[in-house]
Subunit: 136 residues, 2 copies
């Protein structure tokens, strides 16, 4: 049986990445976070690999980035939910048939050679859903 789709990561928008990493290290009892800057998305990411779903903390590089605008509008909090699928084209076809819209190009090239697509929160109960297909 396929183990797809699965939750690939949960992303949290934060104002201060290092402060947030300290808090989640305390909650998780782990200090082994990674850090990555993704200029194209205007974001600095801190992450904890938890064996299954990954936890990502997102600090915007500027106020007019997507995460910067999210912080201005809603304040810090859960930002998006990423689901890993084995076939992103098939998943997008299902979503469009259900009347869901995507945000921007879909699918597009994401970090680590992944194909990613974002579903507009309007159709998903207010949740920005990322679909993600591993490379290869």
């Amino acid at each position: 049986m396929s183990h797809y789709p699965r939750v690939e990561h949960i992303a949290i928008a934060v104002e201060n990445l290092e402060a947030a990493i300290s808090v989640y290290a305390a909650i998780l009892g782990r200090l082994d976070s990674g850090r990555e800057t993704v200029e194209s998305e205007g974001v600095r990411i801190g992450f904890f690999d938890l064996g299954g779903a990954r936890l990502e903390l997102l600090e915007p590089l500027s106020e007019d980035s997507p995460v910067g605008r999210f912080l201005t509008r809603r304040g810090p909090g859960l930002h998006h939910l990423a689901l890993e699928v084995d076939d992103i084209e098939a998943a997008l076809e299902r979503c469009r048939a259900a009347g869901l819209r995507t945000v921007g190009d879909a699918p597009r090239q994401g970090a680590g050679g992944r194909l990613v697509a974002f579903l507009h929160p309007e159709g998903t109960g207010g949740v920005l859903v990322e679909l993600s297909q591993a490379p290869g």
Copy 2:
């Protein structure tokens, strides 16, 4: 190596459970959702078991339940993040030492014999974090 903590579930507050289940069934390409009513939390839950982290959709039983008030205040969207820990007392001790507050009794008896505790969003970057320890 311990595989704890891990993401146990992600919960989404929705206005109409059956409509939300249809949408997520389309996104996931799966129809095998479960349903459960938890009177003590004032909520009807639809869930998808995804092999790792579970996806939960929460519809309030009344407007003055916690999820009902969340919907009134913020609208539908990501509601909380549940982390499974192997020792909830040790986790709470770490969290309190880091200056985090809990919401209500902590830990308390949750569904399925679990011990659960909620961390106040104020200290966690706006995220209601549930800590959860499996029974036994």
